[in-house]
């Protein structure tokens, strides 16, 4: 998540080029900066550029990795993926899961940030609650999955409370019935992901100059107007960049799904990532899996393009 500051950071010296210094550097030879960045670039070439070229190549071959005599087959793997109903179902479910997650992350994160920032809250209460509200963020996906499997177990505590309160009259199988599984999964992801928004928006709220609100008060604005005409526009750059990153990362979700439902029951929670993983490592169809992985990659890169453009525009503003 380090981009905003750092993206600007890489270019900072380009702007403040200092004559004395660059003169000295140019005398020391052009090779020196490359020596400093060489180890990093070697790793990126070996572990990013080369593998990406490989997976593109695999996606155009048949029997990749497994057969030594595999040959190019053009876009056949893509045609096969695109004619698979489960692929489209996974894509739809991934989008549902991602959009719901991003929307509720934002709503909950913003609500919590506004409540914590409220002048009605005692500073000590605020500090304690801030730490507690961040808790879901401190757990790794596998642990989140297993906690919620226990809580949402048919004999678990949620069903226990819901039955005691007469809200339901049978034990709901949250993760293993096709009707509820995707919603349960989305709910868990919403729980796990809102703190990033909360922390960032809280910092954003504290950065809005107090004078804006004072001026608005003089003009007779009410709380609702304050929110829509001052708070929200001021937070917009933060919201856009976090929501885009969240969208990209949520779309790639794997461990949470793998550890709760495994994509089941009967593909009801299949995501593009689990679909691809199963193609590769349970069916050993590495060529098809590569084609599917390329689809995820292209989707991510389209969003990354918007993300980088947004970062540039706010960095220059």
């Amino acid at each position: 998540m380090a981009h905003r500051e750092a993206d600007g950071a890489l270019f900072a010296t380009a702007v403040t080029k200092n004559g004395r210094r660059s003169h000295k550097n140019s005398r020391r030879g052009a090779a020196l900066p490359y020596l400093f960045v060489a180890p990093a670039m070697a790793l990126f070439s070996l572990l990013m550029l080369f593998p990406m070229a490989m997976v593109f190549r695999y996606s155009l071959m048949d029997g990749a990795i497994l057969r030594p005599d595999s040959s190019f087959v053009g876009f056949r793997n893509f045609r096969e993926i695109f004619s698979d109903e489960i692929f489209w179902q996974s894509l739809g479910q991934t989008l549902y899961f991602t959009i719901m997650s991003v929307v509720f992350h934002l709503l909950i994160g913003l609500t919590f940030a506004l409540m914590l920032n409220s002048s009605r809250v005692h500073p000590m209460v605020r500090n304690v609650l801030r730490v507690l509200y961040i808790l879901p963020w401190l757990f790794t996906a596998v642990i989140i999955a297993i906690i919620w499997r226990l809580i949402l177990d048919p004999n678990g505590v949620i069903n226990g409370y819901l039955i005691a309160l007469n809200i339901i009259d049978f034990k709901v199988e949250w993760f293993s019935s096709p009707a509820t599984a995707i919603h349960a999964l989305t709910f868990v992801n919403i729980w796990a992901g809102y703190p990033l928004y909360m922390v960032s928006l809280l910092a954003g709220l504290q950065g809005i100059p107090k004078e804006y609100y004072e001026a608005a008060r003089v003009d007779g604005a009410n709380t609702v107007q304050n929110f829509f005409y001052i708070t929200l526009p001021q937070l917009k750059p933060i919201i856009t960049s976090i929501a885009l990153l969240d969208f990209i990362w949520t779309m790639q979700v794997f461990p949470l799904v793998w550890m709760t439902t495994g994509g089941g029951p009967i593909h009801a929670t299949e995501m593009l990532s689990t679909y691809t993983y199963k193609l590769a490592f349970t069916r050993y169809e590495f060529s098809l899996a590569s084609a599917s992985a390329i689809v995820i990659f292209v989707l991510s890169m389209c969003l990354t393009y918007f993300y980088i453009r947004h970062q540039r525009s706010t960095a220059n503003a």
Binding site: F36, F44, F112, A293, S300, T304
Partner: protein
């Protein structure tokens, strides 16, 4: 419309506090449930009606984890791999960050794009060629396979964080070393690095946690029990003893410990790493 101002003030305060209380239950209940379930017996976890506090506190779940060398090994592996990833990432990142911060050179912009886009590449897309490469280089099921592949995801953040940090240090510091006859190399390690400790700590914390949490590569690129990390260990436990929930909750508590400790005792650095960039400074 006329409101009684005092009454409406009170009502708003009440609304905020009710909202905060609901939020508190939403945020913490699962965590509380995990913690107390790890201290209950298996039958008590499923008691009806549900009880949050255990009737009988018991440490049997923790005892059984600490008496099982396989499970202890999961933790050792996770600490070792995450520590190595943090250490190696830092060295490579400090060098690169110094280059980016102090020099102009061709392709700088290209490198920048590579670094930023690496952060959004889907892990599953890289996993397939990694599997092929790891088998080809005969490092399947080794620490090396995990450490190298984790670095591709830790390096971008580390480089960006460190570049941002080194940019805040005045260039006159390096120049002073150069004037005294030192090289850029000595300027970096003798002056810049000691002054960058806060940035280094934030970067180390963040890369450690990324590695600690990793699941997909650990699942696919290792297979022997001796090399499994905590997330995979929990997954395996889930399959083997699906009914020993107290033990799985205890594993989860222990597996979350590094994050909780780092968060509580290095909150400043932790948040710096986790949110740098998403907040406009």
């Amino acid at each position: 419309m006329r409101f009684n101002p005092l009454k409406s003030e009170l009502l708003s305060s009440l609304a905020v506090y009710v909202g905060l209380a609901v939020g508190l239950i939403f945020a913490t209940f699962p965590v509380v449930w995990m913690l107390f379930s790890s201290l209950k017996s298996n039958t008590e976890i499923f008691a009806l009606p549900p009880r949050i506090l255990p009737k009988v506190f018991t440490l049997t779940a923790y005892e059984s984890i600490f008496s099982d060398p396989t499970k202890i090994r999961f933790f050792i592996n996770s600490y070792f791999v995450s520590g190595m990833v943090a250490f190696l990432t830092l060295i490579v990142a400090i060098l690169a960050a110094y280059g980016f911060s102090r020099y102009q050179f061709r392709y700088k912009k290209l490198f920048n794009v590579i670094i930023i886009s690496t952060q959004t590449i889907p892990p599953i897309t890289l996993l397939i060629p990694y599997f092929g490469m790891v088998v080809f280089f005969r490092i399947f099921d080794t620490y090396l396979a995990l450490i190298l592949t984790y670095m591709v995801f830790t390096l971008p953040y580390a480089i960006l964080l460190m570049t941002g940090y080194i940019n805040t240090l005045p260039k006159e510091l390096d120049e002073a070393v150069l004037v005294d006859g030192g090289s850029s190399w000595t300027a970096l390690w003798r002056v810049i690095v000691p002054l960058s400790v806060p940035g280094i700590v934030a970067t180390a914390v963040y890369t450690f946690l990324l590695a600690w949490n990793e699941f997909l590569f650990a699942l696919t690129l290792t297979k022997s029990m001796e090399l499994r990390t905590v997330p995979i260990g929990i997954q395996l436990l889930m399959g083997q003893h699906a009914f020993e929930w107290n033990e799985m909750m205890a594993m989860s508590v222990l597996g979350s410990l590094p994050l909780l400790v780092l968060y509580l005792f290095a909150q400043r650095y932790f948040l710096a790493g986790m949110t740098a960039g998403s907040v406009k400074s």
